[in-house]
Symmetry: C2
């Protein structure tokens, strides 16, 4: 039995390892156009920052380790075409080509960075995106010889790089076309994030929101000036594009595999595509949102791992259902933790809930403890049913803890009323007697009580 | 309407505040034999340690603040008797007595420290228990003039005081009659706690397990020597008894209120006792365990707050149900976090489940992050149904986060299979790609699969 996997970063690498464990006598092969396999791309900003010296730290499993467990990895091997009738894939390399047969095919082609159509953007060598190991190496190298950097986009990667760059002493400009930074959060939380970051004593940086980049100019293949929609001219030694990603679906689409309404490969709960014996997982695959029940595309390394495992189990003859995602994220920038799960208030409205929310600003543990920090927590629920819909938390410490506590509640479809009974741990070094989460629930309970009385 | 509350630390203080808010025109009165009202007794070890100078930091709400919101607090006022037929209570003070009528009565008499029957124990003034503000003040004062201290008992308070004392430079002996320390954890976890603590470079301390204290001797009202069952003679400058607490139920029992099988006051989900218009909440009240469905007595400040709120709402004419507890706890000793929720493997067996468990030892975040620490996590499930039963976590950091994530899952009665889909937040500074919790669930899933195949 040939189990062939296209792509080998997170979902693909996980799928290969799991398939071999479930079905030890199967031939498990990974084909990837990448120069590396099985690495933590989420760790690249921390490599750039200098938390560790050697980029090899990011490699989870080497080609040799895969080989030792009986898995063949083919690097720099681009899959040109999937032929579902023959159950073949066509591989192209720099010097040769190959036809490979499969019994089960797992597509884990990931996502690509979006390069926005800006005048001059393709002219210069000091403009980067960050997806692969080489990108990280190149950005770090250039960073070490630069004094100013411009990040276009203010989402997760943008802010993670902001931290990496300011910690290396660079002056950082962040240009964002949206009116707010960290667009995935509700406006009120996003405003607080900006205020917190701007009041940080660390780093030399500036946010330019509501600004489109109109043109990039420079000389000798080096971009130097960024012109924005309001007429600003920003000088820079290097540019990093953090303007989002799109699913890499071309070969799937060419093979006639159904693409979902989000633009990613449509799969069922078994991670199976519309064509028999072909699975998809990770950033190239569409997901179901557990709270809204709707198809979404939220590409994350943690999800890729779960989906890779699940796809492999089903391909290799075991059974696994993947229920979907909650859109849970966390990141850090300049001592501010930003985390969320489920639906924002805005998203909840869009999908037809009647959201209400509670915003709590507290210390994350009893205020008399020396290590106490602040936490701002927003919890969103449906005012008709009381169903919990999501939460957002930012703060010095402890924000991610509250969000993970919410994820289990969302997974279990708990209501606010039910959550009031939650027996969260308490001791002065760890939380307030009434945890900020329970506080938020009590506010929501009171709000709903009022609505019902009217 | 007279809402009368007996006791004013956590449950009582909360009940008073909530009752007044729900029913502003009610007369709300607190009677307590204590010299203080509304304070964080969980914070006493941190006061003793010296995290803050003034014990008043522990006071949540003063008598004056209660008065300002229309609540009368009567300190040093011992309730001698409840007369349910007349709906009166009898108060005794140093200089006078009083009969007070009630329409609704809330009993929040808390728990008392157990003083074990040891020869000589009542003879000396340097033997302490820790429950009230005065206890904290006295222990701190004595600590500052001592060089050796002996703690009898190695539960939460015992280990919190161990940290407080070693940080103040004292030599600490901990004597435990049980064969393990932190008896609330399973043996394997308790062993790991002991190993972690004993390998700590901080502090000068020793555990003596499996040792009963047989006799305490000394001179001039000062205990000096502790003789143990194995014949050891331990010299000490002071002794703190951390040998547990028992619910303070005397006046309830005398009034004919039903006492539960755990020895605490029996209440229903409305926190109502067996006698009309009398509620009980906090450490004096029995609780229902959400996982086992059985009555338990787990006295905790966080629970006291929830129960106080709930009792007050019902007494004041609103409606509130309290579902019960999970036995969630957390504490810290010498940089080790110890946390648990739900049933231990041992407890699960006792109440009739067929537990299996997974033990995971991992870094709590990606190992290449400089702040990564270790975490040991044990998750317990029922092998027949897959129902999650509980978890225990210890480690340098991040242990409490995993336990709170489990509490919501236990509250929602999730199975291991369902939890596999949990979309926990991931970024290198916060967790591993596959969180230790998900890792444990995968191990449990595989174990259950094997059992089902056989």
């Amino acid at each position: 039995m040939d189990i062939v996997i296209i792509g080998g970063v997170a979902a693909g690498a996980k799928a290969a390892a799991k398939a071999k464990r479930v079905q030890p006598e199967a031939n498990v092969k990974i084909y990837t156009e990448d120069t590396h396999v099985s690495y933590s791309s989420c760790g690249l900003p921390y490599y750039i920052e200098g938390n560790f010296e050697d980029y090899k730290t990011l490699l989870v499993r080497s080609v040799e380790e895969f080989a030792a467990s009986g898995i063949d990895v083919y690097l720099k091997s681009r899959v040109e075409k999937i032929l579902p009738v023959q159950k073949d894939i066509l591989i192209a390399r720099d010097t040769d080509a190959e036809v490979v047969k499969y019994d089960k095919l797992i597509i884990a082609t990931g996502a690509n960075a979006i390069v926005p159509e800006i005048k001059g953007i393709h002219k210069y060598e000091n403009i980067y995106t960050l997806r692969k190991i080489e990108d990280g190496i190149n950005i770090r190298k250039k960073m070490l010889e630069s004094s100013t950097v411009t990040i276009i986009g203010s989402g997760y990667i943008g802010l993670e790089l902001l931290e990496a760059f300011v910690k290396n002493g660079l002056r950082v400009n962040v240009i964002e076309s949206n009116k707010k930074i960290m667009g995935g959060f509700d406006d009120d939380i996003s405003d607080l994030i900006r205020k917190r970051l701007e009041s940080s004593s660390i780093g030399n940086f500036e946010f330019f929101t509501n600004e489109e980049v109109v043109e990039i100019t420079g000389e000798n293949k080096e971009a130097k000036i960024i012109r924005t929609s309001s007429g600003k001219e920003i000088e820079t030694d290097m540019i990093v594009l953090c303007t989002g990603v799109k699913p890499n679906i071309k070969i799937a689409q060419d093979a006639g595999i159904e693409i979902g309404q989000t633009g990613a490969i449509k799969v069922n709960k078994l991670m199976h595509t519309s064509i028999e014996d072909i699975y998809a997982c990770g950033d190239c695959a569409e997901k179901r949102h557990i709270v809204s029940g709707r198809p979404v595309w939220i590409p994350l390394g943690s999800t890729a791992n779960k989906e890779g495992r699940c796809a492999a189990m089903n391909a290799a003859g075991e059974y696994c259902e993947f229920e979907g995602v909650l859109g849970s994220t966390v990141t850090r920038c300049l001592n501010t933790t930003m985390s969320k799960t489920g639906l924002t208030e805005e998203e909840a409205k869009e999908v037809g809930f009647s959201p209400i929310s509670a915003l709590v600003l507290k210390t994350d543990r009893v205020a008399y403890m020396p290590e106490a920090g602040d936490i701002t927590l927003k919890v969103v629920a449906d005012k008709v049913t009381g169903l919990l819909l999501g939460g957002q938390a930012i703060g010095a410490v402890g924000a991610d803890k509250r969000i993970n506590t919410l994820t289990s509640a969302l997974l279990g479809h708990l209501t606010v009323e039910a959550f009031n009974n939650n027996d969260l741990t308490y001791a002065p070094p760890y939380s307030t007697t009434i945890d900020p989460l329970l506080n938020a629930m009590q506010i929501l309970t009171a709000k709903m009580r009022k609505i019902r009385q009217n």
